[in-house]
Symmetry: C2
Subunit: 342 residues, 2 copies
C-alpha cells in the first residue's frame, strides 16, 4: 500500500513534485509541441512519467538502451521509439525488431549498420558526430552510410547529431552560437542523407536550436542542480527524501541516510534543504551524507527529514526502484522505475 503522507515514506526515497513536473511538461509542450520534442526516457526510466509526456502531446520517444525500448513498447508507448545509441548486440537488436512498436535505430559505421540489417530492423537514422567525442560518423561519411543502409533495405529517416558538449554551457549566447555551429555540420550531413528527421539537442539547447526538426530533451522533466545553473524555465522536480540519523552538536554537522548508492556523483555533491533553508553538504559515503546547516541556522534533530537535490538526475534515478509522486505533503502515487539496466 502506498503511504498517503510524505512523512510515512521510508527513506531514502525519490520524490517527484507533481506541480514542478506538470509545469516542466507544460512549458516544453508549449515550446516544442507534439513531434517537435522527442522526450528522452533515459533521464527518468519510468513509463508512468513517459505517459505524462504522451498526455501533453509527445508520441515519439528517445531511448538509450534496448531495455528502455522493450519497456516502452510493453507500456503501450511504442508509437515511434528511437534508440539514440549504437548497439551491436545481435540478440538485443533482434528483440527490438520483434517488438510490436515502431523502432528506429541509429547507425554510425559499417559495423553498426550491418548489425541492424542482420537483426531485421527496418528503420534508421544516421548518427553524425557534431563535435562531442562520442558516437556519430564524420559528417562527410553520412551520405555513404545512408546509401549503404538503403541498399540493404533499411528506410533512412534522417540524421541525428547530439551537441552534448554544448548543452551544459551556462552562457546562453555561447550556447546558441556553438549549437548553430554543430547544426551546420548536421545539416550538411542531412543534405547527403535525406529523410524528414533532423534529431538533436537536449534540455540545455531546447530553445536555442532552430535547426533540428525534433529535440531529444530528457532532463527537463525532473531537472537537476547541474541544469538548474542554466537560465532555463524548468523547475527542480526531483529530490531525495532522507532522514537525519546522527547529529553532532559540538562539531556542527549531522548525517542523513542517503549516499553514493542513492545519488549519481559525476557532477559532484548534491545540495541539501533543511526545513526549507539551504544546508551545506560536506561529503557523501556509501549510505551517509554528512551536512551542516547554513550559517546561523540550527542543527536538525535525529528523525528530521532533509531534502537532497541531486546534481545529476539520470544516474541518480538509475539507483532507485521507485519514485513517489507528491503534492505538498500528500503522496499521490508511486511509480516504478521500470526501465533500468540494459
Amino acid at each position: 500500500m502506498t503511504p498517503s503522507r510524505i512523512d510515512e515514506l521510508q527513506t531514502p526515497a525519490l520524490v517527484v513534485d507533481t506541480t514542478a513536473l506538470d509545469h516542466n511538461l507544460a512549458v516544453m509542450a508549449a515550446a516544442l509541441p507534439g513531434p517537435r520534442c522527442r522526450p528522452h526516457v533515459k533521464a527518468h526510466k519510468t513509463t508512468e512519467l513517459a505517459k505524462r509526456q504522451r498526455d501533453v502531446g509527445h508520441h515519439a520517444f528517445t531511448c538509450a538502451t534496448p531495455r528502455e525500448l522493450i519497456g516502452m513498447a510493453g507500456a503501450d508507448l511504442g508509437e515511434d521509439l528511437l534508440l539514440a545509441n549504437e548497439v551491436v548486440d545481435g540478440e538485443r537488436l533482434r528483440a527490438l525488431a520483434d517488438l510490436d512498436a515502431r523502432v528506429t535505430v541509429t547507425v554510425d559505421s559499417d559495423a553498426t549498420l550491418d548489425a541492424a540489417v542482420r537483426a531485421g530492423l527496418r528503420e534508421c537514422l544516421i548518427d553524425v558526430n557534431v563535435g562531442m567525442p562520442r558516437c556519430g560518423c564524420l559528417p562527410e561519411d553520412a551520405g555513404r552510410l545512408a546509401d549503404q543502409a538503403r541498399a540493404a533495405g533499411l528506410q533512412v529517416r534522417g540524421v541525428m547529431g547530439y551537441e552534448g558538449h554544448v548543452v551544459g554551457l551556462t552562457d546562453r549566447a555561447e550556447r546558441t552560437r556553438m549549437t548553430a555551429e554543430c547544426m551546420e555540420m548536421l545539416v550538411t550531413a542531412h543534405s547527403d542523407v535525406g529523410g524528414e528527421i533532423v534529431s538533436a539537442g537536449g534540455t540545455g539547447t531546447f530553445d536555442c536550436n532552430a535547426t533540428a526538426t525534433e529535440i531529444q530533451a530528457g532532463s527537463y522533466a525532473l531537472m537537476d542542480s547541474a541544469y538548474d545553473a542554466l537560465d532555463l524555465p524548468f523547475r527542480p522536480a526531483l529530490s531525495l527524501l532522507t532522514t537525519v540519523v546522527s547529529v553532532h552538536a559540538r562539531d556542527g554537522f549531522a548525517v542523513a541516510d542517503c549516499g553514493l548508492k542513492a545519488l549519481g556523483m559525476d557532477h559532484g555533491n548534491p545540495s541539501a534543504t533543511i526545513a526549507s533553508a539551504p544546508g551545506t553538504v560536506w561529503f557523501c559515503s556509501d549510505e551517509h551524507l554528512t551536512f551542516g546547516p547554513s550559517e546561523g541556522e540550527p542543527l536538525p534533530t535525529v528523525g528530521d527529514r532533509v531534502r537532497i537535490w541531486p546534481a545529476h538526475v539520470d544516474p541518480t534515478v538509475a539507483y532507485h526502484e521507485r519514485m513517489f509522486v507528491v503534492s505538498g505533503d500528500e503522496v499521490l502515487d508511486v511509480w516504478l522505475v521500470d526501465l533500468r539496466a540494459w
Copy 2:
C-alpha cells in the same frame, strides 16, 4: 541459461575473476581468521559471495542497510549480523527484530537507542566517533549510552568506531599512526562500555589496526582502483566487461557501452584495459565511456571487448542486477546482486 564463455555475455556486465577473488579471501582469512574479520557485505551486496566468505571461516557479517540483513538472514547467513549504521525507521527495525537471525544494531544517541528498544531489538554496539565526521557518539558519551541501553534491557556487546578518514591514506606509516590514534579513543570508550567486541576498520587498515577485536573489511574481496593505490596484498577482482560501439580513427578515440549508470563515479573515472594494455579514459556519459588506447597502441574495432576497472566498487555494484564469475574466458556462475536498496 548462463553463457558458458565470456564472449557470449551481454554488456555491460560485471565480471568477477574467481582466481583473484579466491586469493583475496584466502589472504584475509589467513591474516584475520574466523571472527577476527567481520566482512562488510555493502561492498558486494551479494549473498553468494558472502557464502564464499563464510566458507573460508567468517561467520559474522557487517551490513549497512536493513535490506542487507534481511537478505543475509534469508540466505541462511544470519549467525551474527551487525547493522553498522544508525537507523530510526521503526518498521524496518521491527522487521530486523523478527528475523530468524542474531541481529546486533549500533546506536550513537538517545534517539537511535530508543528506536532499537521500541522495535524489540536485543543486542547493540555503541557506535563511537573516532574522528571521521559521520556517525558515532562522542567517546566520553559512550559509557552513559551503554548504561542506558542495559537499563532498557539491551545486551551491549561492545563498541564500534570506524576510522573511515584513515583507511584510504596511501602512506602506510601515516595510516598506522592515525589508526592507533583513532583506536585510542575507541579503547577509552570501550573501558566505559564493556562487552567483548571492539569493531573497527576496513580494508585499508586490516593489517595496521592492532586494537580492534574484529575488522569490518568489505572492499578486499573485489577491490577497486582507489584501494589498489595502497600497498595491500589484494588483487582487483571486479571489472566491467564492455563492448566497443564506435571508433573514431581520425581523432584517436573509441566508445564503449558503459557509463555513469554502470559505474560509481565518486572516486573519479575508472581505468580501462584494451587487449591487456592500459587505455586512457577520456570521460563517461550516461551510457558511454570515451577512451583512447595508450601511446603507440592501435584503436580497437567495433565489437571488441574492453575491460573497465571501477574506481569505487561499492556504488558500482549497486547499479547491477548480477555479476558473472569467470575463470579466464570461462563463465563459471552467475550471482544475483540480491542485497540492493534499503
